[in-house]
C-alpha cells in the first residue's frame, strides 16, 4: 500500500497518528489565530468524514445521518448541562450514548433495505430531528442553545493543559481525538471485524455464503460511526459554544460528503486529506469568492467522473506504478458492487 510505505518511511509505523498531534502542537506554537482556527476545523471535518467513511467507505452503505447524529449528541449534552445541571463528561457520554441508540434504531429499521432506501431514511432522520429541535423550547427552537460546559484542564506532572483554550489547548484536544479515532479504525481494519466489513462491502452474497451476519456487522459499523459523528458534533458545539440546528443541516452534510469523496472513500487517510483540501481551498484560499459553493460542487463532479477513488486513491496508484494502476482499475470495477 503506497500510504503504508509512506508511514513506515516516516519511522512511526502504526503510531503515525501521533504525528498529527505533533503537527497540532506545532501549529499552536505559530500563535497564528487563523492557523489555529483552520486546524481546529480541519480536525472536526476529519472526524465527520471518518464517521461517514466507516459506514460508507468501509461498509458500503451510503448514509446521510452523520450530521444528524452529531446534532443529536451535541444537543443532548448541551441540554443536559443547561437544563439539568449535569457534569460535563457525563453529559458528553450521554450525548454519545444517544447517538449510538439512534443509530441502532435506524440501523435495525433500515439496514436490511437496499442502499437508496437506507440513504433516504438517514436523510429523513436528519430532517425530522432538525424539525423537532426547531420546535422544541427546551432546545431553544431556531435560536439554539448555549453550550455551557467545558472540557476543563488536564494536569500531566508539571504541565497543565487547558483543554478549552483558544490559544491552542482546544486545537490539540481536537486533534488528539481525531488521531485516536484514526488509529482505532486503522487497527480495526486489520482485525477480523474490519476485514469482514470490507468483505461485506465488496461482495455481500459471498460474505453471506460464509455465514456472516451482514446486518449485525453493518449495524455495528453504523453504531461506531455514530460515536465518531457524536464526537464531531460535540467538539463542534464546544468550538462555537452555542449550537443551532442549522450548524448540522444539509449544507454541512454536503460538505462532509464532498470532502470525503475528494479525499478518497474506503481509505484511512481519505478523510484527513479531504478535510485538509477543504479547509485550504474554502476557508484559507477562499477560492472562487462568492462562488465557493459552486466551485466545490464542480470539484465533486469532476472527482466523481475522473477520479472516483479520490486523491488518496490517485496517489496510491501513482506511487506504486503499474501495480497501483492495475489495482486502481480493479477498484474501479469493484466500485460497481458498492451499494447494490
Amino acid at each position: 500500500m503506497g500510504v503504508a510505505a509512506l508511514r513506515r518511511a516516516a519511522g512511526l509505523g502504526r503510531l503515525w497518528p501521533l504525528a498529527l498531534v505533533g503537527a497540532a502542537i506545532a501549529v499552536v506554537y505559530t500563535e497564528d489565530p487563523v492557523w489555529i482556527t483552520l486546524a481546529t476545523l480541519a480536525a472536526i471535518w476529519t472526524l465527520w468524514a471518518t464517521s461517514l467513511n466507516l459506514i460508507w467507505g468501509y461498509s458500503g452503505q451510503f448514509s446521510m445521518a452523520q450530521t444528524g447524529l452529531g446534532m443529536l449528541s451535541a444537543y443532548v449534552a448541551a441540554i443536559l448541562v443547561h437544563s439539568y445541571d449535569t457534569s460535563a463528561y457525563a453529559a458528553i457520554l450521554a450525548g454519545l450514548g444517544a447517538s449510538v441508540a439512534a443509530s441502532a434504531l435506524i440501523g435495525l429499521a433500515a439496514l436490511r433495505l437496499r442502499g437508496f432506501y437506507f440513504a433516504i431514511m438517514t436523510l429523513a432522520f436528519l430532517l425530522v430531528l432538525s424539525a423537532v429541535l426547531e420546535n422544541l423550547a427546551l432546545a431553544g427552537r431556531t435560536t439554539g442553545i448555549v453550550v455551557a460546559y467545558r472540557l476543563g484542564s488536564l494536569s500531566l506532572g508539571p504541565i497543565t493543559w487547558d483543554l478549552d483554550s483558544r490559544h491552542g489547548g482546544f486545537l490539540v484536544a481536537c486533534w488528539t481525538v481525531a488521531a485516536g479515532v484514526l488509529a482505532l479504525i486503522g487497527r480495526l481494519t486489520r482485525l477480523r471485524f474490519g476485514k469482514l466489513l470490507i468483505a461485506i462491502r465488496d461482495d455481500p452474497l459471498l460474505a453471506t455464503s460464509f455465514g456472516v451476519d451482514i446486518s449485525a456487522y453493518k449495524i455495528g459499523a453504523f453504531a461506531m460511526s455514530a460515536i465518531i459523528a457524536g464526537l464531531a458534533g460535540i467538539l463542534l458545539s464546544l468550538y462555537f459554544r452555542y449550537i443551532t440546528p442549522s450548524f448540522f443541516g444539509f449544507d454541512t452534510l454536503i460538505n462532509v460528503i464532498v470532502l470525503l469523496v475528494i479525499g478518497g472513500t474506503g481509505r484511512l487517510v481519505g478523510p484527513l486529506v479531504g478535510a485538509a483540501v477543504y479547509v485550504a481551498l474554502i476557508d484559507y484560499f477562499r477560492i472562487g469568492g462568492d462562488y465557493r459553493q459552486g466551485v466545490f460542487g464542480a470539484i465533486l463532479i469532476l472527482t466523481v467522473i475522473f477520479a472516483p477513488q479520490g486523491l488518496v486513491g490517485l496517489l496510491a496508484g501513482l506511487r506504486s506504478g503499474r501495480a497501483g494502476a492495475l489495482r486502481t482499475a480493479a477498484l474501479k470495477r469493484f466500485a460497481g458492487i458498492y451499494n447494490r
Binding site: A109, I120, M121, V132, D290, Q293, F296, L300, I301
Partner: protein, 290 residues
C-alpha cells in the same frame, strides 16, 4: 367540525398532492429508467420557478412564461444527462454524488442570479369561488386541473406513442430494449429531460401560490422522495396515489392538528412504509427496486 375549514383543507391538500405528484413523477421517470437518485431535482424545480418570475417580470404572460420555463429546464436537463450523468451511469451511487454536486452549483447560481430575497409572481388567476360557505381559490383548482391534464398527456404519451413505448420498454429491461434496436442512450436523455420539465412545471405552479425564494423547493423535494418511496419507486401510478396520500394528509394535519405535526407526519408514514411494505403501494416487480 367546521365544514368550511374541511373544504379548504381538502382543496389545499389536492393542490399539494398535484405538486407532489409532478415532483415525484419527475423523480420516478429518472429513477425508474436511469437508476439515478437525482437530488438536484429540487434545484430544477427552483430554476423553473425563478424563470417564471423573471419572464413575468419582463411582461410575458404567465402561461407563456410557464411553457418557456419548462422547455428551457428540459433542455438543461438533457444537457446535464449527457455531460454529467452519463459518464457515471455504470455506478449508481456516483449518480447520487454528482447530483449533490449539482445542488451546490445550482444553489450558488440561483443566489448569484436572483438573490436570496423573496420574489413574488402576480397570480394569473385571482378569482375565488364560493361554494356554500367555503371559499375556494381558483388558482388552486387551476393547479390541480393543470396537473391532471399533464398527467393525462404523460399517460397518453407513455401508452399510445412509439416513443412512450420505447421508454417503458427501456425501463422494464434495458438490455432487451437495446437488443430490439431501441436507442437507449437517446431514450435516457429524453427521460431525464422529461423529468426536468416536470420539475420546472411543479416550480411554476409553486410560484403561482408561494413567494419564490431559495428554500422554496426544499419541502416539495423531500415530499417528492417520500411519495416516490410510498408509491413504489418506478411506478407512475404509485407516484400519483402516493402524492394524494401525502398531500391530503399534510393538509388535513395542518388544519386539524398543527403545522409542526404536519411536518412530521409524512416522515412517520415513510418509516411505516419502509417497515411494512418497502416496495411501496404499487409493486413493480422484484427486479425493479432491488
Amino acid at each position: 367540525m367546521n365544514t368550511n375549514l374541511l373544504v379548504a383543507a381538502l382543496v389545499n391538500g389536492l393542490m399539494l398532492a398535484a405538486v407532489y405528484a409532478l415532483v415525484a413523477l419527475g423523480l420516478t421517470v429518472v429513477f425508474g429508467l436511469l437508476d439515478i437518485v437525482n437530488f438536484a431535482h429540487g434545484q430544477m424545480i427552483l430554476i423553473g420557478a425563478y424563470l417564471v418570475v423573471s419572464l413575468v417580470a419582463h411582461s410575458l404572460n404567465f402561461w407563456a412564461a410557464l411553457v418557456v420555463a419548462v422547455v428551457v429546464v428540459a433542455l438543461v436537463g438533457a444537457l446535464l444527462e449527457r455531460v454529467v450523468f452519463r459518464p457515471v451511469e455504470s455506478v449508481p451511487i456516483n449518480g447520487l454524488l454528482v447530483s449533490i454536486g449539482l445542488i451546490a452549483i445550482g444553489q450558488n447560481v440561483i443566489r448569484a442570479v436572483w438573490g436570496p430575497n423573496q420574489q413574488i409572481v402576480p397570480p394569473p388567476v385571482s378569482v375565488v369561488w364560493h361554494v356554500g360557505g367555503a371559499t375556494v381559490p381558483m388558482s388552486r383548482v387551476v393547479i390541480v386541473a393543470g396537473s391532471v391534464l399533464v398527467l393525462g398527456a404523460l399517460s397518453l404519451f407513455l401508452y399510445r406513442t412509439r416513443a412512450g413505448k420505447a421508454l417503458r420498454a427501456t425501463a422494464q429491461n434495458r438490455d432487451a430494449a437495446e437488443l430490439v434496436g431501441i436507442p437507449v442512450a437517446r431514450v435516457n436523455n429524453l427521460a431525464f429531460a422529461a423529468g426536468a420539465g416536470l420539475a420546472a412545471l411543479a416550480g411554476g405552479f409553486l410560484a403561482m401560490q408561494f413567494p419564490v425564494e431559495p428554500l422554496l423547493a426544499d419541502s416539495p423535494l423531500v415530499m417528492g422522495f417520500i411519495v416516490l418511496i410510498l408509491g413504489g419507486a418506478g411506478s407512475p401510478l404509485g407516484a400519483v396515489l402516493g402524492a394524494m396520500v401525502i398531500g391530503l394528509t399534510e393538509s388535513l394535519c395542518t388544519a386539524l392538528l398543527s403545522s409542526e405535526a404536519a411536518q412530521i407526519v409524512p416522515f412517520v408514514i415513510l418509516a411505516l412504509i419502509l417497515f411494512v411494505r418497502p416496495e411501496g403501494i404499487v409493486r413493480i416487480g422484484s427486479d425493479r427496486w432491488v
